[in-house]
Symmetry: C2
Subunit: 250 residues, 2 copies
């Protein structure tokens, strides 16, 4: 089946969530690494748990709740004046260094984002990054009130783009999202941002700290019986995977 | 509404999942702490993700998959001959030191377990611990093919015990389970096995390793808008909470 659309996850796939470390370290010097990692882990947990309990809440709220939990473990202040400016770092996450070049090379496809982010988070992020012009649609799961990997979230692609699941190449670095998208019926390319060898080397160090624990938990292919169709190291490997000439005009 | 039944979570509430550290350290000396913590974190993740994707799998399989993921991050062998004996450690988890005394003091209530564990895991665990006689029912979520905190899992209490949600005191040390049970309509007592002060002290240490990360992620009240009705430090605080004479005959 011909691929008609390429749909990207946002956080961790096109945009680097670790960018928030600047904000967490500036707010709480010496705690940036710990806060950044626990915050992201709890943010994902809360999205899964809320979907599972049928208690969806806007991702900006979930992100704030996860940060408040994290700051609470250290006994740090959790009032809105502290939390909200740090949460706002999600509006200005940096794209990965190769993101724009890859999007440009894939211009002959219909490109879209499908993200857990709320509409206002995604609007701000895409606008601030200067990448808005590459996407035919920026889709938030908010319309379904269910976070990925709930299958309802993935239904939005067909509803918004008019393409069938088999016509979609879904791209994510997040193992749970890879599994969810495969289970739904998309073709899936996994961006492997941390190779097994690199992770093994990191874990062989004397101390396994918060950042290593984060990568241990989040960076490898999940054992959920739903392997990706392809694993690549970078977004720039996608044109080759799809048989697209890298220099094709958009 | 009078409490008629007390329903306990098993893993982490009546039984100490950290008991498996003996098996992981014996199998892979020097890696026991890391494996134990990442394994438990992935086991819970996989239960949530499978429920969310509608791809339930027996908890013994989920537990094995989580262990294989964990061993894989270290480049260790993941064949059945290695994994299965370690997974079997779940059949002989130690009860907490106060578990039997607390169950004895609560004998005038109908006592039950509601656990993610598969029927064969729970049968073995309860039999091996010598605690079987205290329970009117040992209920596995397997009958619903959905893990906690999916509301369907909690429906089993009424179906098996014939008590309404308001007549149930649900007891768990797991924050996600506290939230799920409260959202479902049970009264909920949370066993706080790690106080905020103890966690803060642990996180103030120079190095935050895997065990500290586990406790940071799993031991505090979750920010899911579903607070427990009561927080106690030990199962032995339950009789006082319920107004039961601790020396009441069973």
């Amino acid at each position: 089946m011909t691929t008609k659309a390429i749909v990207f996850d946002a956080y961790g796939t096109l945009f680097d969530v670790q960018t928030v470390a600047v904000a967490t370290e500036a707010a709480f010097p010496g705690h940036g690494e710990y806060i950044t990692q626990v915050w992201r882990l709890k943010q994902l947990e809360y999205s899964w748990l809320r979907s599972l309990m049928g208690r969806y809440q806007d991702f900006r709220v979930v992100t704030g709740d996860a940060l408040r939990y994290t700051l609470g473990t250290l006994g740090l202040p959790t009032d809105a004046a502290v939390v909200e400016p740090i949460v706002d770092a999600y509006d200005t996450l940096s794209p990965y260094s190769e993101t724009e070049q890859a999007l440009r090379q894939l211009g002959q496809y219909r490109l879209a984002i499908l993200s857990n982010g709320s509409p206002n988070m995604l609007d701000a992020l895409v606008r601030n990054s200067g990448l808005a012009r590459y996407f035919q649609a920026v889709i938030s799961v908010d319309a379904k009130q269910a976070f990925k990997p709930d299958p309802r979230a993935y239904e939005l692609v067909q509803e918004r783009l008019g393409v069938r699941p088999q016509e979609v190449m879904f791209v994510s670095s997040n193992g749970f999202d890879v599994a969810g998208a495969r289970g739904f019926g998309f073709k899936v390319a996994r961006i492997e941002r941390v190779t097994p060898a690199a992770l093994r080397q990191e874990l062989a160090a004397a101390q396994i700290g918060p950042a290593a624990m984060y990568r241990a938990l989040r960076s490898q292919t999940e054992m959920l019986d739903l392997a990706p169709d392809a694993v690549v190291q970078s977004l720039l490997d996608l044109p080759g995977l799809l048989g697209t000439r890298p220099d094709a005009p958009p």
